[in-house]
């Protein structure tokens, strides 16, 4: 059946609203701040037999937009093998090797039935606060197997015919340091799926299953058409880019990530051959995550494309086997964020050679997962876990954003006052980092400085970061941003970790501090093209030191001083 374009527009909005509403339900009721404040979660509707993304919420984490399709497909395969699917079943799992991302992300998948058959799947994913493993918060840069990162749950039935399987819940809650938080998040995810099913019931009753199915097909076709139109407007050719991760946390050796992008007519091919092999340490990602990451990069370059699988039809992705972009069980994947951020960077760098006016420079490129953990005087355990921000790249339109969130995320950072009221710490500094932006006609945004002092007797710190050896790059002739820097205080002297931005078990005593200085974004266009008054303004406002300005822009900026 074909569907008229007007009904299609109406249904597109209705279904997007269902996914948005599922997001909102979990954000409001979640117990852990990574979901409630940082929105590290996502919901959507997925194809009945292929698992492909049909509709995704607007407010969920961008990287999940593509990766959830792999998670749903894993459930489809599992239920086909087992042959025992019935209405009201809900699967739960966190296995990164079949569902993508890392073990902190708990996925719930609910086959949605209509007239006795699966019409589509509803799914919910959220980043739980703790899922066991060696390091509170699960960012363990020393892990060499998934078992050291967290407990691993393959797809199992959390609900059978609408009945909660309490034994499964008991297993899950026994394997976390924070069972109350986990229980709250689990309830929130179940509620979100319930709500999605109720809304779909109403939609199908109103429009009929055939019309809705036709609309879903048409939306995927339309996404494909739009992508082909966007790609056709790009020049044909082949462009390459390479960048490196600092190390895998185990061995201090750089790890190249390489892409070759080829455009022919309305097809776009990305080939990551030349990327480093799988690593012992946890910067590996699964094949599904790698493909999903390409989708995120494409959406940033063409923001008008819709969020469904049709976008990927004209795009070929080649991931070399046995590489760190196609890790196999039980290789650790806890630091997947760092690897996919670097993939996005090289995609931008390669495409900038083809269409410099369509691409922004590299953002700061590391999430800097920093945990401080210890026990209070009364014995209670505390874990302060957060991601930190940095600068965005300069763009064809202007300078980059100061202190933004990572391109794979839309997470906000908790306020200092909330952190200080919840944990025994005092922030000494929470500021922009001068001289951290890449120079350029449009400079990058600034990174930040966070300095934290311990107020209790003792604690341990854990850091998982990147960009300590290889700085975020500029595009179209723009300059590099500053490197990530981390230091900790011990008995009056400051130290840096041997793996630069990765370390576990840093012992801190009362009054000692850790200090994180994050990269800015790369510059856009050559530094010599920057207006002298803009450089002079940056110096006056302290974004840039006079010496930094001389080094990046030459001495002529002084003529721009009013």
């Amino acid at each position: 059946m074909t569907i008229d374009p007007i009904t299609l527009a109406v249904l597109a909005g209705r279904m997007e609203q269902i996914a948005d509403e599922m997001d909102a339900t979990l954000f409001r009721s979640a117990f852990n701040p990574i979901i409630a404040e940082a929105h590290d979660a996502s919901h959507g509707l997925y194809h009945a037999s292929s698992g492909e993304t049909l509709v995704q919420g607007k407010s969920g984490l961008p990287i999940f937009v593509g990766v959830m399709a792999f998670a749903v497909k894993a459930v489809i395969d599992k239920s086909a093998r087992d042959g025992d699917l019935s209405d009201g079943d809900v699967y739960i799992f966190n296995d990164a090797h079949i569902g993508g991302t890392h073990l902190s992300d708990m996925r719930l998948v609910r086959p949605y039935f209509h007239d006795g058959a699966v019409f589509c799947h509803l799914a919910s994913v959220g980043h739980w606060h703790d899922v066991g493993g060696a390091v509170p918060g699960n960012y363990n840069p020393r892990a060499t197997e998934v078992f050291q990162e967290a407990f691993v749950l393959p797809p199992v039935k959390l609900m059978r015919g609408g009945v909660l399987q309490q034994d499964v819940v008991d297993i899950v809650l026994r394997n976390t340091r924070l069972p109350a938080s986990a229980q709250g998040d689990l309830n929130g995810q179940i509620n979100a799926l319930d709500l999605g099913a109720r809304r779909l019931d109403a939609l199908l009753a109103e429009y009929g299953a055939e019309t809705v199915r036709a609309a879903l097909d048409a939306l995927s076709d339309r996404a494909e058409t739009m992508t082909r139109a966007e790609v056709s407007a790009l020049p044909d050719g082949r462009w390459e880019a390479i960048d490196c991760l600092d190390n895998d946390g185990i061995t201090d050796r750089e790890l190249p990530i390489k892409v070759a992008i080829e455009i022919r007519g309305d097809r776009l091919a990305l080939d990551f051959t030349g990327t480093a092999g799988a690593t012992a340490g946890p910067v590996n990602i699964s094949h599904g995550t790698a493909v999903a990451c390409v989708y995120v990069a494409i959406k940033h370059i063409f923001p008008g494309l819709p969020a469904n699988a049709g976008v990927m039809r004209p795009i070929d992705v080649t991931i070399p086997p046995k590489s760190l972009l196609s890790a196999e069980f039980p290789a650790p994947t806890g630091g997947y964020t760092e690897t996919i951020l670097r993939m996005i960077d090289v995609i931008f760098s390669a495409l900038s050679q083809a269409v410099p006016d369509r691409v922004v420079a590299n953002a700061y490129g590391t999430i800097n997962a920093l945990s401080l953990a210890g026990h209070r005087a009364d014995g209670r355990r505390w874990v302060m876990f957060s991601f930190y921000g940095g600068g965005h790249g300069g763009s064809p339109e202007g300078d980059g954003l100061n202190h933004g969130n990572a391109p794979i995320s839309t997470a906000t950072i908790p306020p200092v006052e909330i952190l200080e009221s919840a944990y025994p710490v005092m922030f000494r500094q929470w500021a922009l980092r001068p001289d951290s932006a890449g120079a350029g006609q449009h400079r990058g945004g600034l990174g930040a400085v966070y300095e934290i002092e311990l107020l209790e007797q003792s604690a341990e710190a854990f850091l998982f970061g990147e960009r300590g050896c290889h700085a975020p790059k500029g595009v179209a002739g723009g300059g590099e941003a500053a490197l990530n820097r981390f230091a900790y205080e011990n008995a009056g002297t400051w130290h840096t970790p041997p793996m630069v931005s990765k370390m576990v078990g840093i012992h801190l005593k009362k009054g000692e501090r850790v200090r994180l200085e994050t990269p800015g974004g790369g510059g856009y266009g050559p530094a010599r093209a920057r207006d002298a008054t803009a450089v002079a303004r940056d110096v006056r406002l302290g974004y840039l030191s006079a010496e930094g300005a001389d080094a990046a822009y030459g001495h002529d900026w002084r003529k721009g001083q009013a």
Binding site: H300, P303, S395, N402, H403, E420
Partner: protein, 683 residues
Amino acid sequence: MMRSTMIGVDVGGTFTDVFVLDEATGRARVAKVPTTRPDQSGGFMAGIAAQVGDLGSVASVVHGTTAGTNALLERKGARIGVITTEGFRDVLEMRRRDRPRTWGLRGAFEPVVPRDLRLEVSERTLADGTVHTPVDLEAVRAAGRALIDAGCRAVAVLFVNAYANPDNERAAVAALRDLWPNAHVASSSEILPEIREFERFSTTALNAYLQPEVSGYLARLEAALTGQGFGGEFLIVQSNGGVMAVDTACRLPVRTALSGPAAGVIAAAYIAQSAGFPDIITGDMGGTSFDVSLIEDGQAALAAQTAIDFGMVVRTPMIEITTIGAGGGSIAWVDKGGLLNIGPESAGSDPGPVAYGRGNTRPTVTDANIVLGRIDPDRPIGGGTLDVAAARAAIDAHVGTPLALNTEEAAEAIIRVANARMAGAIRLVSIERGHDPKKFAFMPFGGGGALHAGAMLAEVGLSRAIIPRYPGVTSAMGCVIADMRQDFVQTVNAMTDTADTEALGALIQNHIDDGARLLDAAGVAFAGREVVVELDMAYVGQTHTVSVPLPIKLEGDTVATPLREQIVAAFEAAYRRVYGRLLPGGVTRILNLRTAVIGTRPKFDLKALAPEGEGVTTPRTHRRVHMGAWVEAAILDRLSLPVGAVVTGPAVLEQPDTTILIEPGLSGRVDDFGNIILSREGA
């Protein structure tokens, strides 16, 4: 002399609306004059003069203003400075590490205070309120002098953890007041003593940013009124839908950020409740946007904070208004995938729709309404004539040809997609928050909404629509109706089990005393006074709080200490209402105390607005109007219809400030107040 006249004035982007009520006779008059720019006081005085000769007879003038909103959106506030805790000068600029749009990674942010006007001083308070480092007052004075030398006209003192203990901020403010040349000195704990430094600093800084301009504007208005013999009270509408005295507005101008729209929602709630519809959804359709609010049981929902623009966060209670970019001027376009879209790009009111002939060539929603005969091209709102041929050509070129539709089909498609987007906004505030739309009536106001009212009934399943007698001056009417309301907040941050309830009672008492003082000072006659107390509470571990209404016992102006059992019971009731079930064994926390002190003002009888006499029920003329197909529709003069008149569709009701479309199968009835009640026939 008896002062019996009340005047409401709403200054909008295009028109200044005036609503005059003579309480002695119950008679109301309205005026609409062009808004003057940049100084809105010209239009303000002209609008009043159009209806009132002698200001000596006026008891009160109540103003809904967009002066603050515009200054924020257009970045036209004053040059101001910030004095803050060492290590934290960049909080305003770093925000909460967000970005303007999810996709694209473009766009930067300029805070309203540039970095060189944000100065640090040595001081520090800890989260438990302990002063870790006393404030260096010499450094504060030096910073103050430096900001004065730099030309700053206001200064904000923003210290970390000042919500927990304001001593350092108070000392700094006292030192600054000795040397600052005007009254524009404020600290974050005075403006918003609530945890979360970015939100508190942003609200305080934006308040300072508005203060010189808004207080200057209000002073000019007050002088102009007084100069013409006005001796009554001059009141300003706040974003929370209550009014405040003009001197409070000069001190807290940030509370006017949504002043104009809030007044409209207040009027809508009152009109609907009087007409027997306590549950409504309002829809204000302007040139670029469609603003929706939900009113349940006569009460508008309040949002705790709003971002006026990216990074411009104001945290004070505001009427919750959901805005989508689908107004009369929103442009219809077909994307690369062949799908018809409406907005967010808009032709606004200038150049406006294609048919206005002011240079826009891309079709808008209004152009579609014109092409379909729903708007009379010879009698549009604001006068003049419209170019129908140009509108048809634009719709053909940009929508009809790419989608292979004829002109009328293309115009209907534009309306249908626009209706779907507006319906989506209504679902967002109703269904998505658990409200059954069947319970609600739709109230369109502003110029364009009544053309789409029937479609909203069909699309969302609302029971009926109620179109007020003067939809174009709803906000001005709301000024006259609004109560006086003062909101207070104080962060408590204590476990419910161990919280000091006597200290909590004392905090509530402080809020009540402060509120009563402001009500007394305004010199307004109140019909009654109310105190509403809410606690923001959550289970330990949750970051989002639930708003918990706390029943209190007042003897005179003295509040009884709240009991712990009452607090626990109130939390459980509120949590169950929001999330369905409680967390067994969960430990709870009280984050904030919020108190509203309300002086209710005497209400006027809306029957004063009802039409009198037999009126005219025969059509003025007939016209071809496209509603699926061309039909012959009766055209009637809305204001001449008498009480009880019923008009069945297809029909168009016309009046100077709006056009009402009654589609086949719908009928409109004039109720006792002169409202049109639109419903399905037989419903």
